[in-house]
């Protein structure tokens, strides 16, 4: 019986994969996607340049991209696991990326069809990232640190208040009207005040980002708690659960799906507040870097920071997504 459960779980996993990665494995598309990236390489290497740019880093990037594609396609060809479903599904998308890279390279670096210095080539941005690597790395770490602290503070506060308001009518009666009025205020509106109220700009930034997070989380947590079927509370009582155990083992897990909806909503707001508050108050971070680059008129640096933000925020999103999938694996896969 042990093995039948395992088999069933593997089947469920495979089902889920087939639903998420539904494009069929096609060697034609795989080859085509590698060819488009290779073509982007050739185009960049062969067509004469109008920008002053060191194309080395772009070539490294394209080389790594091609190597990555070839590796996953070979693995996909010989195995039948996740790599095959994933890489096969995205082969067509990868082809489009190759074509887009060629187009952007032609209209910027090669023919300068768009106004410099506001539109620069991807190769130029990569070169900038390489030049500013140390500063950008420090800025990224600083932004990540600030974001993580603020997001955790805001989320914990939101979950805590939401649990109390969802579970205890008295608390809800007294707190919710006030919190609703406060929570609806955009965090950015507090900015001028936070600058003078908080002793350090770091604290002001934490406040602003956490402020953008707590309300959506609290709001969704309340709904999540109130949506838990009363059967679970009654079962818990007949099994000897104390109030604290009910909160820990029924209320929190039961509200978790909703809490995550709140967390994902809050995430976008928190990224916005992160960048804005760094632009205004900070002496470090990607937001500060953009503001500083704007000051000296180096728009390539602005693009560099934007590219890194895209990467950083995508990674954060993916990590929280994974955490959610892990914590909510008890949910019916069909839902």
């Amino acid at each position: 019986m042990q093995s039948s459960v395992k088999q069933e779980r593997q089947l469920i996993q495979q089902h889920e994969r087939e639903r998420n990665y539904w494009k069929k494995w096609s060697i034609g598309w795989n080859v085509f996607s590698v060819l488009t990236i290779a073509l982007a390489y050739l185009e960049n290497a062969l067509v004469p340049t109008q920008e002053t740019v060191d194309n080395r880093y772009y070539h490294w990037f394209l080389g790594a991209y091609i190597a990555y594609l070839i590796i996953v396609y070979v693995i996909g060809q010989v195995t039948h696991g996740g790599v095959r479903s994933y890489s096969g599904h995205f082969a067509q998308l990868n082809s489009s990326i190759g074509i887009l890279l060629i187009i952007q390279d032609l209209i910027t670096e090669k023919f300068a069809l768009m106004a410099l210095p506001f539109f620069v080539s991807f190769a130029q941005i990569l070169q900038q990232i390489h030049e500013d690597a140390k500063l950008l790395w420090e800025s990224t770490l600083s932004s990540l640190g600030l974001w993580a602290v603020s997001f955790v503070v805001g989320t914990l506060l939101g979950v805590f208040l939401g649990l109390f308001m969802g579970r205890y009518r008295q608390f809800n009666y007294w707190a919710f009207p006030y919190l609703k009025v406060i929570g609806i205020i955009p965090a950015a509106a507090w900015m001028p005040l936070t600058m003078v109220i908080f002793p350090t700009s770091y604290m002001a930034e934490v406040f602003l980002i956490a402020f953008s997070v707590w309300f959506p989380v609290a709001f969704m947590t309340i709904g999540g708690v109130q949506g838990i079927s009363k059967d679970y509370f009654e079962s818990a009582k007949t099994l000897g659960f104390s109030e604290f155990q009910i909160v820990r083992k029924i209320v929190i897990p039961g509200a978790l799906p909703s809490i995550f909806i709140g967390v994902f909503t809050a995430m976008g707001l928190s990224f916005t507040m992160l960048v804005i508050s760094e632009m205004i108050g900070a002496k470090v971070g990607l937001g500060w870097y953009i503001n500083w680059a704007k000051g000296v008129g180096n728009y390539t640096q602005v693009y560099a920071a934007i590219a890194i933000m895209a990467l950083l925020f995508s990674v954060i999103f993916a990590v929280i997504n994974k955490v959610e999938a892990r914590l909510l694996r008890w949910r019916d896969a069909g839902r």
């Binding site: 042990q2 469920i12 009582k237 007949t238 008890w330 019916d332």
Partner: protein
Amino acid sequence: MSLLEVKAVNRILTDNNGQRVPVLNNINFDVEPGEFVSLIGPSGCGKTTLLRLISGLDQPESGTVKVNDKLVTKPDVSRGYVFQHGSLFPWFSIRDNISAGLRVTQGRHFDQALVDQYIDLMGLKGFESAFPHQVSGGMAQRAALARSIIMHPELLLLDEPMGALDAFTRADIQNVIYRVWQQTKTTMILVTHDIDEAVYLSNRIIVMTPRPGQIKEIVTNPLPYPRQRTSDEFLKFRQQIQDKLNFGAKDQVAAS
């Protein structure tokens, strides 16, 4: 002294139109330790309402429910309750569901061997780490039974635990309940609208009338255990109960 004493219990509920409707009317009965009693009656006659009063989940408008001569005022581990749809905690594995009560009452070092024993007894071996949505309805219901029985309640209240199952699975769970009752001598009260089930399992059958729910008759089951569902005596006694239920509400009873 009886284990359970239900005296002059009335329950009045407010319906959707704000009308106060009597749901239970002057309910009186006792249950002795070790007994298996079935509550049978048409749908909506107040069986669940009565069971909830006994568990302490609700309070009667008047009358008393006493267990061991003590007034029941709130739910307690000593009175297990198996809900109609099991209501396993979906976020716990089957094993964690079964051990939930032990974990919260005995702490981290609860009796793991006991959990294994009940997993075996309920035929859930191999599914310990599955989540409730991954197992069949019959398995979920067996896990729900195990979750309550493992707490060794002095009184186990079963609210149509087989109601949502197909005929084969239902017979299977009836046998599980019978086995557990024989082994543990736990006092059980089973709500059902399935006459076969009541006759197969119980010492006594409490027949209820439709709204407002009243006790029509308490019938002692003369058949010795283990019972044969196809024996003449079984069928005869079954017919007797059927007749008592058929007072102008034939179709409601046949729902099972």
